[in-house]
């Protein structure tokens, strides 16, 4: 029953960070070195590629992707995308000339931004490596020396294209091809920044690697591209966080994340998405998982106007395991259209989906799931559980589960619940002295605990605090 000293210290520290979380929405007044004019055309693509001094094949790929983006219609399912004005967005904003590996060298204004978000402190404490993206470019990237020595690569994706062209070309666009969907095509056309990770055979990265994404400019499109390759028998945990100031105009974030988990390897990918309420967040995330390997997506969506994101796992080798755990929080004017996709393509594979959502003040959550067991994939086991909590009468939650099971030996379990905060629970907590706000946020946090407790502790505490702020309305955004 004793709380370790470390935990106590963190608890105290976090309670002092209340202000930090309230102030995620601040703006930084900074002059970029290059900003593309509004709108999107081949000239802009060429300019991005020229500025990055890319190889020819990448420019060709970008141009092809742009055509596909223009050709593909907007999806008619999911959230309302009709209000995105693609012609007014800035598709590439370069904040500084060169990526830095020393924090001191980051331009003052940008450094202040991340200082306020607590990024460099976190790095010293519990991370093996850190990246920070401001607008379109990674402005900082670092990795522990010891890991570099072992051959671990943790770079901005742009740097990786230059430094490791062979391995880059081997994997880029293979998990999520440019033709995959409209927003994956858009990302492929204008991608910039993101993290590239390669973990060599039998190498374990014991502390997490983290990248923080910040949109600062108005009408900004951020299109980072992340590629993670965990070679045989290796393991890595990657964490991404994000935030932006609030503007009356809309911004767009359309990322693509590709992950390859080779035989006996393990990858955990954790997201804490806290975009401001003017950001459309349309992201494609997919992992290929081979024999006896394991993939876990831990996906927390607290912010954005509309999120459409369905992390996917392809179980391609025998005994592969996949797990997708998610938490979505939708309040006023927010729609979290999230979900999970699992493809059992090989025998003896297993999967688990746990999706929890909280809706408040007209907020809307949709769960969209796909579970597929292909013919010939014998003895697969999957468990899907979706729980929605409605905090008030006006909120909404929908579930759209799809299951395609082509194999008789498959074991599939599915449960879905929608619950409300009960009067009895509120009365119980209030009868002990908690205010209604405190009681509600306690119940909501309790509902989310199963997901939150899997986050590294520092994030778990931050997320608890964030939910508390959202629930009690003591929030300046």
């Amino acid at each position: 029953m004793k709380i370790p000293k470390r935990t106590r210290k963190i608890l105290e520290k976090i309670s002092n960070q209340k202000n930090l979380l309230r102030k995620l929405g601040f703006r930084t007044d900074t002059k970029p070195v290059y900003k593309s004019p509004q709108g999107l055309n081949t000239n802009i693509i060429e300019e991005i590629s020229r500025q990055k001094a890319e190889p020819e094949w990448m420019l060709t790929l970008r141009k092809k992707a742009l055509e596909i983006f223009f050709k593909k219609p907007l999806p008619l399912w999911g959230g309302d995308l009709s209000k995105i004005n693609f012609d007014t967005l800035h598709y590439y904003i370069k904040p500084q000339d060169k990526i830095k590996t020393k924090w001191e060298n980051v331009p003052k204004k940008i450094k202040e931004t991340f200082d306020k978000l607590g990024i460099p402190q976190a790095e010293r404490k519990f991370l093996a490596g850190t990246g920070a993206q401001f607008e379109s470019e990674m402005i900082y990237h670092s990795l522990q020396k010891e890991l570099k020595g072992k051959g671990v690569i943790f770079e901005s994706t742009d740097t990786a294209l230059k430094k490791y062209p062979k391995i880059f070309a081997e994997y880029f666009g293979k998990v999520v091809p440019v033709t995959d969907n409209k927003f994956a095509a858009l990302n492929s056309a204008v991608w910039s920044g993101g993290s590239f990770i390669y973990v060599p055979k039998n190498t374990h990265v014991n502390l997490p690697l983290q990248t923080y994404f910040r949109i600062n400019a108005e009408r900004m499109g951020q299109f980072e591209r992340t590629l993670i390759i965990a070679d045989e028998g290796s393991s890595v945990h990657y964490i991404e966080g994000c935030s932006a100031p609030i503007y009356s105009t809309d911004s767009l974030h359309a990322a693509v994340v590709e992950i390859i988990v080779k035989k006996n390897a393990r990858v955990q990918y954790t997201t804490i998405q806290n975009w401001s309420s003017n950001v459309y967040n349309l992201v494609t995330k997919r992992a290929f998982v081979y024999e006896n390997a394991e993939m876990l997506w831990l996906d927390c969506n607290i912010g954005s106007r509309l999120t459409m994101k369905y992390p996917a796992i392809f179980l391609l080798g025998e005994n592969a395991k996949g797990e997708i755990q998610s938490l979505a929080f939708a309040k006023e004017n927010q729609h979290q259209d999230t979900g999970a996709k699992i493809f059992h393509s090989s025998s003896n594979t297993s999967s688990k989906i746990v999706a929890k959502s909280i809706s408040k003040n007209n907020g809307r959550n949709s769960y969209r799931g796909l579970l597929k067991v292909s013919k010939g994939a014998k003895n697969t086991v999957s468990h899907v559980s979706c729980n929605a909590l409605l905090v008030d009468e006006n909120s909404r939650s929908d579930t759209y589960p799809t299951m395609k099971v082509e194999e008789e030996s498959a074991t599939v379990a599915h449960e879905a619940t929608v619950s409300k905060i009960s009067e009895e629970q509120l009365f119980y907590l209030m009868s002990r002295g908690l205010s209604e706000d405190e009681a509600v946020s306690m119940i909501v946090n309790g509902f989310a605990t199963q997901i939150i407790k899997q986050l590294p502790m520092e994030y778990a505490l931050e997320l608890n605090r964030l939910i508390e702020l959202e629930m009690t309305g003591r929030h300046e955004r």
């Binding site: 029953m1 004793k2 709380i3 629970q425 009365f427 119980y428 209030m430 009868s431 908690l434």
Partner: protein
């Protein structure tokens, strides 16, 4: 000295009147037992006094130390030192007993005295640990979700454990004896007596059976029927009731 006064209290739920004019005064150090059949209104009385939003007070007053509290939400009443041990404590997923009770303890302390020192998690572990010892509880329960998967007996022990932590001025104990085996009943009764002696709190003990009164001696016994107190007396009244049954009193209202 603290005093809870219930004055000509009438209350309804779903347009059905359940309390039909209750008068009762409980002072620090006193133990009042309220006995009555099922459906007589005894649990409703506890819930109305604590401020359950399901009930509407149509007439009468509730005062704590002279201050009218019948319009206050439950948490403000708790802040003033009122406590209810529930007959059927509800389960709350993912909220640990330890966390929630620490927040409650700190909130009440702050409400009573703005300068009250914040109790740190480590200090609180001592407090809850002692209170759990008093109830002979498995300490692991402190880290579990509130009442989730607790046995009937564990839930009742946990209610009195919370009373021990919060140290209320007036405690309403709603059928704390129901569903307890004899050993558990002895433990719970012993803990209540100990707390009563330590804190000099006033206690309103709601019970269906006389059994618990063998372990906790009341100063006053009231019989409630059809939303009214029909007879009051000392501990002998409970014994009479046990002997003759409720019918005798219901037929011959005092």
């Amino acid at each position: 000295m603290d005093t809870l006064e219930i004055i000509a209290l009438r209350a309804e739920t779903n347009k059905t009147e359940i309390l039909k004019g209750i008068n009762l005064k409980i002072r620090s150090g006193e133990i009042h037992a309220i006995m009555g059949k099922n459906g007589s209104g005894k649990s409703t009385l506890c819930n109305v006094v604590m401020g359950h939003p399901k009930y509407k007070i149509t007439e009468g007053k509730i005062k704590l130390n002279g201050k009218k509290i019948e319009k206050l939400p439950a948490n403000k009443r708790a802040n003033l030192g009122l406590f209810l041990a529930f007959q059927n404590p509800t389960e709350i997923q993912g909220v640990t007993l330890n966390n929630f009770l620490r927040l409650a303890k700190n909130t009440n302390a702050k409400a009573q005295n703005k300068k009250a020192k914040h109790i740190s998690p480590s200090e609180f572990l001592q407090t809850i640990s002692q209170s759990m010892d008093l109830l002979e509880m498995d300490k692991k329960l402190a880290g579990r979700s509130v009442n989730e998967g607790f046995s009937g007996g564990e839930k009742k022990r946990a209610e009195i454990m919370q009373m021990a932590v919060l140290k209320p001025r007036i405690a309403l104990l709603d059928e704390i004896d129901s569903g307890l085996d004899i050993d558990a009943l002895k433990t719970v009764a012993k803990a209540i007596k100990r707390l009563h002696k330590q804190t000099k709190c006033g206690i309103l003990l709601i019970t269906h059976y006389q059994r618990i009164l063998n372990y906790i001696t009341p100063d006053f016994v009231h019989i409630i029927s059809n939303g009214k107190i029909i007879k009051s007396g000392d501990k002998k009244l409970a014994q009479k009731l046990e002997k003759h049954g409720y019918e005798k009193f219901v037929k011959e209202p005092a």
